[in-house]
Amino acid sequence: MSQQLDFESHINALEARIRELRLSASEGEIDVADEIEKLSIKVETQLKQVYQKLTPWQKVEVSRHESRPHAQDYIDHLIQEYQPLAGDRAFAEDAAIVGGMGYFFGKPCMVIGHEKGRDTRGRIKHNFGMPRPEGFRKARRLIDLAGKFHLPVISFVDTAGAYPGLDAEARGQAEAIARSIQACIRVPSPFVAVITGEGGSGGAIAIAAADRLLMLEHAVYSVISPEGCASILWRDSSHRETAAKSLQITAQSLNELGITDEVISEPTGGAHRDHPATFRRVSNALKRHLNDLGAIPAEQLIEQRWQRYLKLNTA
C-alpha cells in the first residue's frame, strides 16, 4: 500500500473500494461495472477539487510523496541508450546523484538528477537523495563533459538538500556545491532543469542554475525547508504550514516571481497517480525548451543565463 496523505483520506477510501470491486468482478461473481464507473467519476471529481486548492504545506507533502516518479524513472522512460556514469574521480561514487549520456528524441544529451530511492534498500543506497560532496563533484564532472562535447544538459531536481553529515563537511560540502553551481553557469550548451519533487536549497540549485527552469505543478523549491524555517524564525517547527506559505515555495508562486519558465501540469491527483502521463508531459516540455535553446549560439546562451541571475530583483 502506498503512502497516504491526510487531506485525501476520503479519496483513498473510495479508491480502495474500487480495487475491492475490481477484484470481486474479476472473479466473475457479480457485475459491478456500473458501480466502479460511478465511483471512478466520484474519485476524479474529488481529486480535481482537492488538488486544485492544495495549500503550500499540502504541496510539500505531495512533492515528497514516495510514489512520485524519480530521476531514474524519468531517465528510463525519456532517454534511449542511457549510459550511466559514476564517480567523482577523487573519493567515491555517490548514488544520491545519478547521471549519464543518452539520446533524447534521437539527439545525444547529458542527464543528471537526484535519486531518492524507491524501497528501503534503494533509499539507503541513494542516501534518500541527499548528496555528499562526491555527488556534487560527479555532477560537476558530468556538466563539464557536456560542455566539452556540446551536449545539452537535462537535470531532474528532487532532494531534501545536501547531506548534513560530519563526513560531508569534512570533505568540503560547501565547496562541492559551489563548484557544481559554477559548472552550471559556465557550461556552453543548452541546460534545462526540472524540479520534479522537492527542490531543497543548496543541494537543489547545485544542479539547477540552468537556462530554463521548469517545475511540476505540485513541486516545491525553497531556500530552506518549511520545518527548518519555522524552527528558526518561529522557534517552533509546528509552524511549518505558516512557513511554507510565507516562503512562497510552490510552482505557482515561483512562476509569479519570475523564477520558473513553465509550470508543467500534473495528471489529476498528482504525478504519483499516473506516471506515464507525467513522463509524456515532462518529455514534451523538455523537447520544446531544448529546441528553443538549440537555436542560440553558445556565447549568447551563457550571456543570457548570466543576465537571468544578474538582473533578478534589481531595482
Binding site: 559551489a178 563548484r179 543548496g202 542554475a209 523549491y221 512562497q248 541571475y309 530583483n313 531595482a315
Partner: protein
Amino acid sequence: MNWLENFVRPKLQALVSRDHSDSAENKWRSCPNCAQMLFLNDLPKNLYLCQQCGHHLRMPAPARLESIFDSGFTNLPEVAVVEDPLKFRDKKRYLDRLKDSRAKMKCQDAVQSAFGTIAGEKAVAAVFDFRFMGGSMGSAAGSALVQAANKALSEQCGLIVFTSSGGARMQEGIISLMQLPRSIIATEMLQQAGLPYIVVLCDPTTGGVSASFAMLGDIHIAEPGATIGFAGRRVIEQTVRETLPEGFQQAEDLIDKGVIDMIVPREDIAARLGLLLHLMGGKARLLTENDDSSDHDDAAHNHSEDDGSGVEKSAPVVS
C-alpha cells in the same frame, strides 16, 4: 482613543531605552573566549581583538574597511534592490526587521564595499557585517558583490571579500537562493578577466554563503577561530545523533582538511593582502612592463618598503 499606545507607550519606551543606553553594561562587553571585560570604546583601536587572550571578536564592516585600506579609500554607494519581494512576515514583518537593523547600523544592508589601496596595492573590498541580520545574503548583498566585482573590473584590480554570515536570508525565500549563482557569476567575471579574487573567511561563514562565492577564491584566508562550514552544528548533530568533535568546522581544523590556504591574525591581514595582491598582479605588471620595465622594479621595491606593517614578507605562513 489610542492615547495609551500613542502617548504613554512611547514615553515609557523612551524612558526605558534611555536608561538602557546609559547603563554600565552597554559600555563593556565580555570576551566570549576568556570572559575578560572589554571597554567598547577601545575595541576599534584594538581591531576588535581581546587584549587578554587575542580572541577575534566579530568586526563591524566600517571598522574593517578602515583597518585594511590605506588612508583615502572611497566607499562604494549601496545598491538599490526591490525590497521584501515576498512580503514576508514571521513573528515580525521583514520590512520592520530591515528598518530596525538600518536604524541601529546606519547602513542599508549587510555588505559594505570600498575601493582604495591595501598596503599599496589597488583593490576593491566587500565586507559582510554579521550585526546586520546575521550577515545574511539577500538581493542587496548579492548586488553589492556584483557591484564590487564590476568595480574591480573597471579598475583592473583585485577583489577581496570578507565573509561573516549565517547564509542565505530566509526572509527573501527563493530570491536569496538565487544569490548563490548570482554571486558566483560575479567571481566568474574576475576569473575571465584574470584578476585576483581573495576570500577572507571570518566568523562565521556557513550555509548559502559558504556554498557559493566564498569557496571559489583564488586564495582562501581564514581568521583564527572562525567557524566555516555548510550545515549548522545543530542540524548535523540531529542527523548523526552524536556530539561533534572539538574544533569541528574551525579554521584551525579546516587548514588540515584542505579548505583554506592560511590562517592570518587580524593585525597582519592588510600586509598579507598587499603581498598576495602584488604576487598575483600579473596582468597589471604585464601592462607596466610593456610600458617601461624599470617602473615595475621601482614599484615592487617601494611596495616592500612602504607597507609599514613590520611584517616580514618572506615569513612563513602564520597558522
